[in-house]
C-alpha cells in the first residue's frame, strides 16, 4: 500500500492506530484515582509527544542514516517557531500559512548552516553545528530581541519570547475568526471531553492536526529510508571515503539529508507555535539540541519508530515525573509505618519533582549500556529470543538491510 512493502504498511497502520487512540491509551487510570498522576492524556502533553516525534523523525534522517551527529538542530526548531508566530502577528491566526512558512524558513537556514558545516565530518561537524545553534540562540535571546526597525522587542522579543499582541496588524483577521490559533475557524485549543464511567478522555483539535501531520511525515521518512537516496545516505555512514574514491560526490546527498531534517525540525517548531502562540529563545539552546539526540539514541538511532518512542519517553518524564512532589509521595506511602515511610519518601524525593533529570539520566545509562540498539533494538532482540525458532524460517536472509529489521 502507498508503495510500501507489507511490513512497513503494517508499521504505518500500527502507528496510525496508536496515535489516533492516544487520548484513550494515555489515560489508563480513572480521573479520581491516585494513579491518575501518571496519566498523560491531556492535550498539551500529547501535542508535545507528536511534535517532538516529528522533530526526532527528522533528526533520525540525518543521524540515523548518514551518521552525521548534528548538535544544532534546535536552531531550526526555534527558527520555525519564530516564523510561525510572525505569520500570526502579520496575517492572522490561521495556522496553515504559519506552518508552511516555518518549514521554508528552517529549510533556508539549514541550507546555509549545512553548506558550511558539511565541509567537515565527525566531531568537527558536530562542533560547527553546535556553534551555529548557539549563535542563533544568542541572536534570538539578545541581539534581535532589542527594539529595532521601530519594532518594540525586535524580531524575537528576547527572553520573554515572541507573542501576539492585540495591536499587531493581523491583516486577514476577521471578526468571525477565533482570536487564537485556528485552522479555518476550528480553534486548536478546542477539546471534546468524553466522560466514560470514572474515566475522562480529552480529544483535542490541535493534537489531531499534529497527529495527521506526523503520520504524513512518518510515511515520507519510511519512503526515504527505503529509497535509493536512503541507500546512498547509508553508504555515507558506512564509508564515505570509499564512496569518494569511487568517484561519487557525497556532499550533495549529505546536504539534502541535512536540509530535509532541518525542515522537519522547522515543521515541529511551527507546530509548537501553532499549538501555543509563544516562541521562546530557549527552544534554540544547546540543551534543546541535546534533547533530540537523547530522544533518537534512547529510542534507537536508524530505526523508523525509535525516535518517536524516545521523544515520547523524554517528554513523559519531563512533564509527569517533574510534577510529583513530596506531598504526593507522602500520600502514596502513608500506609507504611512513619519511619519507613519517611525513609522511602526521602530516597524517592531525589528521583521525582526537580530530580526528574536524575531518573532520566539513569534510564539513559541503562539503555545505552544494556540495549545498544535503543529501546526498539531491545524490543526486536527480545522478540527474536521469544519467537526465535519460528522467526528463523520466515526471516529474510541476513544480507538484507539490518535497519529494516530493526524498524519492525
Amino acid at each position: 500500500m502507498f508503495g510500501l512493502n507489507r511490513n512497513d504498511t503494517l508499521l504505518l497502520i500500527f502507528v496510525a492506530i496508536i496515535t489516533f487512540a492516544a487520548p484513550i491509551l494515555m489515560n489508563p487510570f480513572p480521573t479520581e484515582s491516585s494513579l491518575a498522576q501518571f496519566n498523560a492524556g491531556y492535550p498539551d502533553l500529547m501535542q508535545r509527544f507528536v511534535i517532538f516525534g516529528i522533530f526526532a523523525i527528522g533528526f533520525n534522517i540525518l543521524f540515523g542514516l548518514t551518521g552525521y551527529l548534528s548538535f544544532g538542530h534546535a536552531a531550526f526548531l526555534g527558527a520555525g517557531s519564530y516564523a510561525c508566530v510572525w505569520m500570526f502577528k502579520l496575517f492572522g491566526y490561521n495556522v496553515l500559512p504559519g506552518i508552511i512558512l516555518s518549514v521554508i524558513v528552517a529549510g533556508i537556514l539549514s541550507v546555509a548552516i549545512g553548506y558550511i558545516s558539511l565541509r567537515r565530518s565527525g566531531i568537527y561537524f558536530s562542533i560547527l553545528t553546535l556553534a551555529f545553534a548557539q549563535m542563533s540562540f544568542a541572536l534570538a535571546y539578545s541581539v534581535l530581541g532589542q527594539d529595532m526597525f521601530g519594532l518594540q522587542g525586535g524580531l524575537t522579543n528576547g527572553e520573554t519570547g515572541l507573542q501576539v499582541y492585540t495591536s499587531d496588524p493581523q491583516i486577514f483577521h476577521s471578526e468571525a475568526a477565533p482570536n487564537l490559533p485556528h485552522l479555518f475557524g476550528l480553534p486548536m485549543r478546542e477539546t471534546w471531553v468524553w466522560e466514560y464511567g470514572a474515566w475522562s478522555f480529552q480529544f483535542n483539535a490541535g493534537f489531531y492536526l499534529c497527529a495527521i501531520i506526523m503520520l504524513v511525515v512518518f510515511y515520507m521518512s519510511i519512503r526515504i529510508f527505503r529509497s535509493p537516496f536512503g541507500m546512498m545516505l547509508r553508504a555515507i555512514k558506512t564509508n564515505q571515503n570509499r564512496l569518494n574514491y569511487t568517484g561519487v560526490n557525497t556532499r550533495p546527498y549529505a546536504l539534502a539529508a541535512f536540509v530535509i531534517s532541518g525542515m522537519y525540525a522547522g515543521l515541529a517548531g511551527g507546530l509548537l507555535s501553532a499549538m501555543d502562540p509563544l516562541a521562546g529563545a530557549e527552544r534554540m539552546q544547546w540543551t534543546a539540541s541535546g534533547e533530540v539526540v537523547l530522544m533518537t539514541i534512547l529510542g534507537g538511532a536508524g530505526t523508523l519508530i525509535g525516535p518517536v518512542l524516545g521523544a515520547g519517553l523524554i517528554k513523559y518524564f519531563e512533564n509527569i515525573f517533574s510534577k510529583i512532589n513530596d506531598a504526593i509521595l507522602e500520600g502514596w506511602f502513608a500506609f507504611l509505618p512513619e519511619t519507613i515511610g519517611d525513609a522511602v519518601v526521602w530516597v524517592l524525593h531525589f528521583f521525582v519533582g526537580k530530580g526528574w533529570h536524575l531518573t532520566l539520566g539513569l534510564m539513559f545509562m541503562i539503555v545505552v549500556i544494556f540495549l545498544p540498539g535503543g529501546l526498539v533494538g531491545g524490543l526486536v532482540q527480545g522478540a527474536k529470543r521469544l519467537f526465535g525458532g519460528r522467526r528463523r524460517k520466515n526471516a529474510p536472509p541476513p544480507s538484507a538491510s539490518p535497519t529494516s529489521q530493526a524498524a519492525e
Partner: protein, 493 residues
C-alpha cells in the same frame, strides 16, 4: 498474518456483545471542554468538595532558592485557608472593595455577631479598621471547598513554564495559576492564563512590563516594579552619595533587567547623575569577572548591578574581589548599588553586602501586625524567617481566595471585578491599592542596606527608609508602561 482467516465464531460474538453492552451501560458524556454542563460557564469550575490551585515556581535554575521559598509560602497559605495552623495573615487582613459601598454589605461586615445591632465593641473595632473590614474567608477553604494544590517546575524558562502551567490547567483542572520568579516567565505565563481563561496571580516579578506593555485582564501583580525601585532609591542615593556621580550599569539581559535599568537610569539622572555605560549580561552567566574588569578604568564611581538571585551573588562577589569598594575615583569613594535586594541574595553574598543600598518589597523585620503574624507562623512551620518572594506569594494566594469568597464564584470575571480597585491593609506593606487600570499594587517601598553587624544569619538587611506610596505612584499611561492593553477578562468559555 492476514486478516481474512479470522472467523468470528458464536462464542466470540457473544463475548463481544456482552463487552459492548457493558460499555454502553456505563455513563457516557461527550461534551466540549469549555462548555461543560452545569459548571457555571467558566473553565475548570470546581466540581467536587475541593478546588485546585497551581503553584508554578522555579525549582531548578538561577532562581531555585526563591522558588523553594515561594513553595513554602504557598503550602502555608493553603494550610491557613483550610483552617489549619494559626491562621497567619487571615487574622490581620483588612479589605475595602469598591463594591462594598452598599450600606447593607458594610453593616453586615461590621456586625460581627449578626444580631442586627452594633455593640460598643463592634463599633470600636470598625472605627479602628478605618472603614475596612476583615476578610470574608472563614478558614473552611474557599467558598467551603477544601483547597488542594499541584506544583510544577518553571525552570526559569518561558517555554517550560507554559508547558507546566498548561498541564495544570488541562490535566489537573487548576482554576488559578500563581508563582514565577522571573519576569520573562511571569509575562509568558500571564499571557497563557489570559488565553486559557484562568486567573494568574504573579509571584516575584519586578519588570515594568508585567503590568506595563504586557499587562493582561486575568493577571494581577502584588510585587513592586523597577520604576518604583528607582523612585524610592534615587532620593536616598542622592542623599548618601551626592549629585555629581558617574554610574556604570551591569544589567541582566531580559525584560526585567532592561526595564529596571531604564528606571534607575531615569531616576538617578533626574538627580544629576551621569550614566557612563550599560552592559548587558546573559541570564545564565556565572562568571562576571570579564564584565567587572572594564568598570575599573571606565571613569565611573558607582556600579549599579541590575542582577537578581544567583546572578547578583556572583556579580557582587566578583566586583568586591576586584577591590572596587576600596577604590577612589574622581576623588570619591567607589560605591556599589543593587536596586533589587532580597534576603536570600544577601545571605548568599555574605560579607560583601555590608553597606550596600537597594530596595525591597518586604522584609521580615517589619513590626506591623500582618508581618509579625506571617513571620511567626512561617517561622513555626519551617524554623527560619520568610523571604520577600515568600511574602508576596503568600499574600497573593490570600488575596485571590478572599476575592473569590467575596465574589461568591470562582469565575475569573467575578474575581477580576472583586480585585480591581481593592484597598487592603494588614498584609505587611501598609495600606495598599490594587489599581484597576493595570492590576498593579501600590504600596510603600522599603529602601534597605546590607547590615554592618548582623546578629544572626538571617539578619542581613536593615531598613533605611520606608518610602511612602505617594512617592512611587505613576500614571497608568506613563511612558515606561505604555503600549499594552488589559483587554477583557476571559473565563475560558
Amino acid at each position: 498474518m492476514t486478516f481474512s482467516n479470522k472467523n468470528i465464531g458464536r462464542r466470540g460474538l457473544i463475548k463481544g456483545g456482552v463487552a459492548l453492552g457493558a460499555g454502553l451501560a456505563a455513563p457516557t458524556f461527550f461534551h466540549s471542554r469549555s462548555l461543560a454542563a452545569g459548571d457555571g460557564g467558566y473553565l475548570n469550575a470546581p466540581q467536587g468538595k475541593s478546588v485546585t490551585l497551581g503553584f508554578n515556581v522555579p525549582q531548578t535554575g538561577p532562581y531555585a532558592d526563591e522558588g523553594a521559598d515561594e513553595l513554602r509560602a504557598y503550602k502555608l497559605a493553603v494550610k491557613h485557608l483550610n483552617g489549619e495552623g494559626d491562621g497567619g495573615m487571615l487574622n490581620t487582613m483588612m479589605i475595602k472593595s469598591p463594591g462594598d459601598s452598599d450600606p447593607e454589605v458594610m453593616f453586615a461586615r461590621i456586625d460581627a455577631d449578626g444580631n442586627g445591632n452594633l455593640s460598643k465593641e463592634e463599633f470600636t473595632k470598625a472605627m479602628s479598621m478605618k472603614g475596612m473590614s476583615g476578610t470574608a474567608l472563614k478558614g473552611n477553604g474557599i467558598l467551603g471547598k477544601k483547597v488542594e494544590y499541584v506544583t510544577g517546575d518553571t525552570q526559569t524558562k518561558s517555554d517550560a513554564a507554559r508547558a507546566s502551567a498548561k498541564s495544570m490547567i488541562e490535566k489537573d483542572g487548576a482554576i488559578m495559576i500563581t508563582g514565577g520568579s522571573s519576569s520573562g516567565v511571569a509575562v509568558a505565563v500571564q499571557g497563557l492564563c489570559q488565553d486559557a481563561g484562568v486567573i494568574f496571580m504573579a509571584g516575584l516579578t519586578h519588570s515594568n512590563d508585567t503590568t506595563g506593555k504586557d499587562k493582561k485582564a486575568n493577571g494581577f501583580r502584588h510585587f513592586f516594579n523597577g520604576f518604583m525601585s528607582g523612585a524610592a532609591l534615587a532620593p536616598v542615593l542622592e542623599k548618601m552619595y551626592g549629585k555629581d556621580r558617574r554610574a556604570y550599569h551591569l544589567t541582566a539581559d531580559y525584560t526585567w533587567g532592561w526595564t529596571q535599568q531604564a528606571s534607575i537610569q531615569n531616576a538617578t539622572e533626574d538627580k544629576g547623575w551621569e550614566t557612563v555605560n550599560n552592559v548587558l549580561t546573559p541570564l545564565a552567566t556565572t562568571d562576571f569577572s570579564s564584565y567587572v574588569a572594564p568598570v575599573v578604568n571606565s571613569g565611573a564611581d558607582i556600579l549599579v548591578l541590575n542582577h537578581y538571585g544567583g546572578n547578583m551573588v556572583n556579580s557582587l562577589t566578583s566586583a568586591v574581589q576586584f577591590g572596587l569598594r576600596e577604590k577612589e575615583v574622581n576623588g570619591k569613594n567607589f560605591e556599589i548599588v543593587v536596586p533589587l535586594y532580597s534576603r536570600l541574595m544577601a545571605q548568599g553574598a555574605g560579607e560583601n553586602v555590608k553597606g550596600i543600598f537597594g530596595s525591597t518589597n518586604w522584609h521580615w523585620s517589619l513590626s506591623d501586625e500582618g508581618s509579625k503574624a506571617f513571620v511567626q507562623s512561617f517561622g513555626k512551620e519551617y524554623g527560619f524567617p520568610p523571604s520577600q518572594a515568600a511574602h508576596t506569594c503568600y499574600v497573593q494566594t490570600l488575596l485571590y481566595a478572599d476575592a473569590v469568597e467575596r465574589a461568591g464564584t470562582f469565575n475569573p470575571c467575578g474575581v477580576v471585578e472583586a480585585l480591581e480597585g481593592l484597598e487592603f491593609d494588614g498584609m505587611g506593606n501598609g495600606p495598599t491599592l490594587y489599581r484597576a487600570e493595570d492590576h498593579q499594587c501600590f504600596k510603600d517601598v522599603l529602601v534597605v542596606k546590607g547590615k554592618e553587624n548582623p546578629e544572626s544569619k538571617f539578619d542581613v538587611l536593615e531598613v533605611v527608609e520606608v518610602t511612602p506610596r505617594a512617592q512611587v505612584e505613576y500614571a497608568p499611561d506613563h511612558e515606561m508602561f505604555a503600549g499594552g492593553e488589559l483587554g477583557e477578562c476571559n473565563p475560558g468559555a
